[in-house]
């Protein structure tokens, strides 16, 4: 029993840390700008671009694709920075030093961003309905909600891996931004996967987001939960796999750092 409460406590502390890092310094207007306006700008840009290219019949494709992809903002930028942020703030040594169950701390940090990310996607979908008339009348809303959460979890899993990779390099923002934009190509958000060359399709299949977007499109068009559940299972599997890899990398990093005595940032 003690073990469970201990772990919960660590989980909660991780969450709180992320919460503080995320929100304490933000002014409400900045938060509004990034959570409400930026997704809208991205959706607008790609939807209009897509309409221009395909004659406007297919707007839903782009709206939904980009709206779900917004989860990557929290997953990649949020989670990566909260881990990379430790290094800059010099608190990484303290994290290494605790005998605490690192797994709990680790995933605790991601938790806040999962909530934040899902929230962002919901807002983006809201814009979809409001401005683009995306029709949710046929949608199984709870299945869609689950899809959103699962997709956010899996992008956060990628974020955990990237966060740990960032401990090795100095160019965090460069990598983050590049991955974010590459996802726009490979996740099917803006380009129908079957129109991509084969090698690119293979890459799409091992990335998070791909199945989440496909599932969302299917659900909004009226598909059933049963149809998309294989996709969702694979999606969360991928996310957890990335998260697990990140965790392993974190432990390896800790081991190396303790061995060589190089804890601080370059």
């Amino acid at each position: 029993m003690r073990v469970i409460t201990n772990n919960l406590r660590l989980f909660w502390r991780g969450t709180l840390l992320s919460y503080v890092a995320l929100f304490a310094w933000l002014r409400p207007t900045t938060y509004a700008a990034s959570k409400i306006l930026m997704p809208l700008a991205q959706i607008l840009f790609f939807s209009i671009l897509g309409s221009y290219g395909t004659g406007g019949s297919n707007v839903d494709f782009y709206v939904i694709g980009n709206a779900i992809q917004i989860a990557a903002v929290s997953g990649i930028f949020g989670v990566t920075m909260s881990i990379g942020g430790d290094r800059w703030a010099g608190t990484l040594p303290y994290l290494f030093g605790t005998p605490a169950n690192r797994l709990m701390m680790f995933f605790g940090r991601a938790f806040m961003h999962i909530i934040d990310g899902a929230f962002g996607v919901v807002i983006a979908l809201g814009w979809g309905a409001l401005l683009f008339g995306v029709d949710f009348s046929q949608t199984n809303l709870s299945a869609l909600g689950l899809t959103v959460i699962i997709t956010t979890i899996s992008t956060c899993g990628l974020g955990l891996l990237m966060g740990c990779l960032s401990l090795l390099t100095a160019n965090v923002m460069f990598v983050n931004n590049t991955v974010y934009f590459l996802l726009l190509i490979f996740s099917g958000a803006n380009i129908a996967l079957d129109t991509l060359p084969n090698w690119m399709q293979g890459f799409s299949q091992v990335l998070p987001l791909t199945r989440g977007i496909a599932a969302s499109r299917a659900l909004i068009a009226g598909g059933s939960f049963a149809e998309v559940s294989p996709l969702l299972v694979n999606e969360i599997g991928i996310g957890l796999a990335y998260g697990w890899l990140g965790y392993l990398l974190f432990k390896w990093f800790e081991y190396q750092a303790k061995r060589k005595g190089t804890l601080e940032t370059v």
């Binding site: 900045t30 790609f46 671009l49 395909t54 931004n177 190509i185 803006n190």
Partner: protein
């Protein structure tokens, strides 16, 4: 007052541009904004606009180059003054007899030249990697458009930088201003696709007129009237921006010297 400066200080401007380029040529954040992001946008647009047919590849090259130009202006030129402050060199610059806006003009020149790379990179990407044949409809007029666009972007940047310094509230919208300008300036699709009430907003954006001139001379009908209109508007806005910038810099520097913020915030 400001125009005379450009002729008097042309040597200084070039030297500032040279030093800026050398100081930041391998900065990863800059490389991302002017190379990686525009190229990814180019790839996206090449796929998404396939249905257009015709010379859509050239259109994408020019359009994605423009996105690089704008991002560079927004993030790099916008931060050029702040950057000097963080580095601790702002005081050294302000205390020279060269008017500070001349120095920032030179820095913006460097940034714009550097970000024209993005157009070149997209060009190479499309022609070499994807095998498109790319042609310019009116090469000489295109070059003229490029030169005027450089001038227009530099001047626009000259009012963005001091505004960011003086009104920190504006800078927090920085990220949110990236895509909207891509949309309103018609970089990768005509603004006819947008609702009519946004058109006036497009008209007051110098990047819009740059996009019109560049598209018209590369993949458009090379209609001389349209091109001259675009050139005229770019010239007009450049002049206005330089006049406003003169004023802004005076106010900004005075305020900074009263508040003692040249060294720290």
């Amino acid at each position: 007052m400001k125009f005379r400066n450009i002729f008097v200080y042309w040597r200084t401007i070039l030297r500032v541009a040279e030093i800026t380029l050398r100081h930041q040529w391998n900065d990863s954040f800059i490389l991302f904004s002017i190379l990686v992001q525009p190229m990814i946008i180019a790839v996206l647009a090449l796929f998404m606009l396939r249905g257009l047919g015709g010379d859509y590849a050239m259109f994408v090259v020019v359009g994605s180059g423009l996105t690089g130009l704008w991002s560079s202006l927004l993030f790099i030129s916008g931060n050029s003054i702040n950057g000097e402050r963080w580095q601790g060199t702002l005081e050294s610059l302000v205390s020279t007899p060269t008017p500070f806006e001349v120095i920032v003009f030179g820095k913006n020149l460097a940034n714009v030249i550097q970000s024209l790379l993005s157009m070149t990179a997209s060009y190479l990407l499309a022609s070499l990697l994807f095998g498109y044949t790319l042609q310019l409809v009116a090469p000489l007029l295109f070059i003229g458009s490029v030169l005027l666009s450089i001038f227009a972007f530099i001047s626009f940047g000259l009012i963005i930088a001091p505004l960011f310094i003086m009104y920190r509230g504006i800078q927090q919208w920085q990220n949110a201003m990236e895509f909207p300008v891509y949309i309103l300036a018609g970089f990768l699709f005509p603004i006819a696709m947008l609702p009519g009430w946004t058109t006036p907003i497009s008209y007051i954006l110098p990047p819009y007129w740059a996009a019109r001139a560049l598209h018209e001379t590369s993949t458009g009908g090379a209609d001389l009237e349209k091109i001259m209109l675009a050139w005229g508007m770019m010239l007009f806005f450049s002049v206005i921006d330089l006049l406003i910038a003169s004023r802004l810099f005076k106010v900004m520097l005075y305020k900074a010297r009263v508040d003692a913020t040249l060294e720290t915030e």
